[in-house]
């Protein structure tokens, strides 16, 4: 009887350890660090570690994505357009399927161009924007799934 109880307890501990490792470990490994000097999106403090979630991604989600091989080559942006949506920049406003994106801060490099687009967001891509547009889709184009790390957990 003692043998049976000991075996059952050992087995239960093993199962709990495996389930814990299988659920928590991937999320922990997929955590992302906000670069120390980051100030491109409200609510994201530099140096903060963030937990990420897998797809599906919806409008309003904050995505973390890779822009280069370095650990600091990470961008964050709010999803404003999904695959298949139409994006247009008109008179310094960003229009998604004809609706103006709010809040919106002007993008200097494209100033002077009256009209841009429309562009259909390609399959497996998301159009994201940030406050200063340094690392968002206006500077890098729609972000492909191969570069997306996940959506920031609220």
């Amino acid at each position: 009887m003692v043998w049976l109880i000991r075996t059952l307890i050992g087995f239960a501990v093993f199962v709990v350890a495996v389930v814990f490792a299988a659920t928590w470990l991937p999320a922990w490994l997929n955590r992302v660090q906000v670069p120390v000097d980051y100030d491109d999106l409200q609510g994201l403090e530099g140096g903060k570690g963030l937990w990420l979630e897998p797809p599906p991604y919806r409008a309003g989600d904050v995505l973390a994505y890779r822009l280069g091989p370095g650990p600091d080559d990470v961008g964050f942006g709010v999803v404003v357009a999904l695959p298949g949506d139409s994006v247009r920049l008109s008179e310094d406003r960003l229009l998604v399927n004809g609706e103006a994106v709010r809040p919106w801060s002007p993008y200097q490099p494209l100033r002077g161009l009256a009209e841009l687009g429309p562009l259909t967001v390609p399959a497996g891509h998301w159009f994201v924007v940030s406050t200063r547009h340094q690392r968002d889709s206006l500077a890098h184009g729609p972000i492909g799934a191969e570069r997306v790390l996940g959506k920031v957990r609220e």
């Binding site: 093993f14 495996v18 490792a21 299988a22 659920t23 470990l25 991937p26 490994l29 492909g144 191969e146």
Partner: protein, 98 residues
């Protein structure tokens, strides 16, 4: 095993009194020889069971670790992305001609 002459209980080797009825055990040389042989076999079986159990537990542990590594630790492969395919120059050829 030494069989008790009173109750017939099979006692392990090196037992002086029967584990079942407490009678002093008496065994002749032939019985002792058989008992020694049986004991040797029992010990060998025990050793193999021990080895089997150890290797089984080791195998189960490493298999679980390998499965956790494969399905929990190793990240998902990125989705298939089309390779860049050149669609020609941006400006029509007439513009590039001197």
């Amino acid at each position: 095993m030494i069989v008790c002459q009173a109750c017939g209980h099979r006692n392990p080797l090196r037992t002086r009194y029967c584990h079942a009825c407490g009678v002093r055990l008496e065994a002749n040389l032939r019985e002792i020889a058989v008992a020694v042989e049986e004991d040797r076999e029992a010990q060998m079986a025990e050793r193999w069971l021990e080895r089997g159990r150890s290797l089984f537990l080791l195998g189960a542990f490493f298999l679980t670790c390998a499965l956790v590594l494969r399905y929990a630790v190793v990240p998902e492969l990125p989705p298939a992305v089309m390779p860049p395919i050149a669609a020609g120059p941006l400006l029509p050829p007439a513009a590039s001609a001197p």
